[in-house]
């Protein structure tokens, strides 16, 4: 039984995820299918990309930092992305940006984001800042700093520019930025290919720095590479639906509990499927059963926030 558990969990979750996707495409559809299917298909694709990006980036981040509480969003990654978006708008002005097109902009933002986070977070995770609570505190401070800077700059932007670009800043599950869907998909595929080649090292990296080095990994280099992959994934999800602070924490920790094995071959797919079920399934349930249109992010953040507090409490008690 214990040996088959990962397979059983994977099969069950796959079925649930498929059911959620089918329901998302069909439930409550009025009007012509030729209109409904592409319209919903695009939204579904965006949600799937976000689910994948958040799940994978959180699990990998926790693997390289050897903890289960810190996540990229808690450490301020997506706040940094929003800040970079704001700076780019601030620097170029909306007229210029419109001529560049959203895809070029996205690529520029991701590139800047990778450069910055590589510097900032490599220093933060290099071992100079010791202890989970200190790291957490620094992350929270960074997040707050990035958010205040973004707010300040958004206020200083020409009101006309701001009106034009407002929806860029306030992406959410309901106002998905589908115009960059193709580019985002491409980024996710590129990350996955690169990640696939490192796949066997993930389980070893999870044993911690010293064990990984003893077992022959080039630890520093691998950490940097994984951090770049994580950063790109965070950029993708933030660009598509805006920041979601506790979602990654929720699915990653549920995945550790359900998977019944610490192997990434099990944990990663379980986390991805859970994220899909939460996002797509959650969207259907809220929209059609309760007729709440905007509540999904609230519900997810609420559950994720509770998970975060429980994790912190269980750690201090130990």
């Amino acid at each position: 039984m214990a040996r088959h558990r990962p397979t059983i969990v994977l099969v069950l979750l796959s079925l649930l995820a498929l059911a959620a996707m089918a329901a998302f495409m069909t439930v409550g559809a009025k009007g012509q299918w030729s209109f409904v299917l592409p319209f919903r298909g695009i939204r579904l694709a965006a949600l799937l990309l976000v689910a994948y990006a958040v799940a994978v980036s959180t699990v990998l981040f926790q693997t390289i930092t050897n903890n289960r509480i810190l996540t990229p969003s808690i450490m301020g990654f997506d706040a940094l992305y929003i800040l970079i978006q704001t700076v780019v708008v601030f620097a170029f002005g909306s007229a210029h940006l419109a001529s560049l097109g959203p895809n070029v902009l996205f690529v520029v933002e991701v590139a800047v984001m990778v450069a910055f986070s590589a510097l900032l977070y490599r220093w933060l995770l290099s071992g100079d800042v010791r202890g989970l609570h200190l790291l957490l505190l620094v992350g929270v401070i960074f997040g707050a700093l990035f958010r205040s800077l973004s707010n300040l700059m958004q206020r200083m932007i020409d009101p006309l520019d701001f009106a034009v670009l407002q929806d860029r800043f306030f992406a959410s599950f309901n106002t998905v930025h589908s115009e960059i869907l193709g580019m985002a998909g491409l980024a996710v595929v590129a990350v996955s290919v690169a990640g696939w080649r490192l796949f066997r090292t993930f389980d070893v990296l999870a044993l911690g720095r010293e064990n990984a080095i003893n077992l022959g990994l080039e630890h520093r280099r691998l950490i940097s590479v994984v951090l770049v992959l994580v950063t790109i994934l965070v950029s993708v999800s933030t660009a598509l639906v805006g920041p979601v602070t506790f979602f990654g924490l929720l699915v990653a920790n549920l995945a550790y509990q359900l998977a019944g094995s610490p192997r990434h071959g099990v944990v990663l797919p379980v986390a991805i499927l859970l994220a899909v079920i939460c996002l797509v399934g959650g969207q259907i349930v809220l929209q059609h059963l309760f007729a709440f249109d905007t509540a999904l992010s609230v519900v997810i953040e609420f559950l994720g926030g509770i998970t975060f507090i429980l994790l912190l409490l269980s750690r201090t008690r130990r």
Binding site: N66, N67, R68, R200, T201, D203, V204, A206, L207, G208, R209, E210, N211, I213, N214, L215, G216, L217, E218, H219, P262
Partner: protein
């Protein structure tokens, strides 16, 4: 042969390893002894490339550890650290299987699995193989980590206090196991020991450290002597020869030892 050349490490102003130059011979057991804080663990961590050194070089079989590829080194040299904690929840067998990673790169073959079972057997862990590490006693967990190092099957094994948490029986069988690895398989074992008598009975060579320096080295007979031990530990230790080995008697400490030697004014 491990050549350690003028290796130093400082944390801020405090120098914890101070220009150590040392050659550890191939094959056989070398024990490192010395008081707490002497820099033994720090030295071992630098030799096994876990900790960057401030100065100096370490060569393993002529290979400079600063330039050599990490995966090549991982097939030559393994280390057991003093404190082993893993944030992932693993069973004993899963942990030990990781020892094969340098050879299997994550795809263990039948031969790798045989290695794992043999290592589990050597350390008496057969019955515990499917238990989670957090369900074991300290000594059982220590043996699981040693099994992992054994499984890595390297020519050089560095073990930082491998007898931690072990009862007498398991401590003796661990030392016999290491002696066997050295004698039968030609392994080079370097270990940090606190019990000078284990060092005396099982090592070919003993290195004594204090305040970040090597202050003595040589055969057990040369090192396990009252004058030398007093210099290393600041403690009067009587040495008796038992079964042809020098055995230090340190349980009574300086005060009581002196009281026995020097009767009171009226006695």
């Amino acid at each position: 042969m491990i050549e350690i050349e003028n290796v130093s490490k400082a944390y801020g102003r405090s120098v914890v390893v101070d220009g150590v130059t040392l050659t550890l011979p191939s094959r056989g057991i070398t024990s490192i002894i010395g008081p707490n804080g002497a820099g033994k663990s720090t030295l071992l961590s630098m030799v096994s490339r876990l900790l960057p050194m401030d100065r100096g070089h370490v060569r393993v079989d002529g290979l400079d550890i600063a330039d050599a590829a990490s995966d090549v080194l991982a097939r030559r040299l393994s280390i057991l650290r003093q404190d082993n904690s893993i944030s992932v929840r693993l069973t004993v067998r899963e942990l030990v299987t990781f020892g094969r990673y340098p050879h299997s790169k994550g795809r263990p073959t039948a031969a790798d699995r045989e290695h794992v079972e043999r290592a589990l057997g050597y350390l008496g862990l057969d019955g515990l193989a499917d238990r989670f590490l957090d369900e074991l006693s300290g000594g059982q967990r220590q043996r699981a980590f040693v099994a992992m190092v054994l499984c890595q099957d390297t020519d050089y094994m560095l073990l930082d206090e491998p007898l931690n948490n072990l009862d007498m029986k398991h401590a003796v069988s661990m030392m016999q196991l290491l002696r066997g690895a050295a004698d039968e398989f030609g392994k080079t074992v370097v270990l940090v020991l606190h019990d000078i008598n284990f060092a005396s009975c099982y090592s070919d060579h003993i290195v004594a450290m204090r305040d970040g320096r090597v202050i003595h080295q040589g055969s057990p007979e040369a090192l396990i002597r009252p004058d030398v031990l007093a210099e290393i530990y600041d403690l009067d230790i009587a040495v008796e020869t038992i079964g042809g080995r020098p055995i230090g008697i340190y349980y009574l400490g300086s005060g009581s030892a002196r009281r026995q030697q020097m009767p009171g004014p009226n006695g």
